[in-house]
Amino acid sequence: MTTIIEKFGLNRYYDTTRLPAFVAGIECEIEAISKAVDVAGFTITQDGSLRNPRAPKGYGHEYISVPLPRDELVHVFSNLHKKLEFYPDEDPFSSRTSTHVHVNCQNLELDQTRTLVLLYALFEEMFFLMVDKSRRGNIHCVPLNETTMPSLYKKPINVMVINWHKYTALNLKPLTKFGTVEFRHLHGTNDPELLNQWLSVLENLWRLSQEVKVNSLNLQKESVIHSWFEYIFAPAPGILKHGPSLFDVIRNSLVDVKFSVL
């Protein structure tokens, strides 16, 4: 079976061949930093869409991590926020900021990556329930179920990527450059527990996509969909409590994902 790295002819950014484990990278957008410091595991860039009125150019910062397993990523994230200093009376995590997560899919087969997209799409509203409610209306994190993107779900992943848009909540465009998919939901934060929970859910999504098939039969079995929900969101008790209303919450998304089996 062809993998993402083979299909797109990528360079390995991380030796994942011997690592069946989940690996991800994060982009932390932060404003009001009084002095940008180097922190192990991150590179720093300035971002014109972020503000820092007291800085020379007025731009905020983005700290971009190297790819790491979940626990190491949470560790370097905690370390980053211990070292940063901010201007007083400024909000480092305004509504302009977000925390993007790139999940490594280099070694996933093409069908497994497509399954990851479909499982995400099915539970998209639950992913949004994990983050600040303003994120669902953010113009740079558009829910797939508000667009016509579901018409692409029946296509192979390499065709989906060509027609994808960067500013969707799940951005597939980086598959062709890094072999990753980018989750753009999470608001700007310095909370390592929240990041750990978010990464744990994404890890479960990544694992499940290698174990199940999203097909016509499964999409008509509520028990199967419920078991997928419980598997993915096991690390998020606040989301699991929506179990009794699962099919109301995912009503639109279930319709969307049915387009994948036409």
């Binding site: 669902r136 209306g137 113009i139 558009v142 829910p143 179920n145 508000e146 667009t147 016509t148 993107m149 579901p150 018409s151 848009h165 960067k166 500013y167 969707t168 016509s216 999409l219 008509q220 639109n252 319709v255 049915k258 387009f259 089996v261 036409l262």
Partner: protein, 198 residues
Amino acid sequence: MLFTPSARDDIVRYYQHTYVKFRELGDTLYYIHRIFEDRVEAVDVKHNQVVIYLDDEHPYEVDYVLPHKSYFQDGDRAMMLFRIPAQQYKRGICGDNVCIGFPYGSGTGGDYETVEQSFQRLQTYVNKPLFVSLSEAIGLPYHSTVLSPRMAYVREPSTICVDFVPVARVEQGSRIKMLRPIFRKEVEEIAGPLWSIE
């Protein structure tokens, strides 16, 4: 977003020449057409003007969120409004972030044709939606009729669409022939018990 004098540049960037709703003014849509140093002027579809003064002590907050994807009835056509994920900064409705289309012809592949994003059409969208039963829809002399936020009946060739994809055909004798059986549950919900679904 707080509308203050210091936020004027952002107001221009995010809202100028876009449509928004103001919390206190219900479902009326306003077009933000002029932004001055001290005020923002907006008009509704009947040209009634509202003015928001930019004031640091009493800032007005605009918290408009772009609309959900949904069908709505616009004259004799079922129109669907949906979001466009694009590199743009506008937070009110504009042609860069929202599109409106209707099911196209007798195509089977989910084709749609887009239409102009007029003020009247957008106001029709934000008004309370009217969904009719399948039996009523068949009796209406419309090109297409809205059945639910995601479904419409298209007169020619008498199909039921989910979004723009025909999933069932309405036949003589209160019968419905499923073209895409995976959507049987959705069709059953809008058809009700009087219809036979095959």
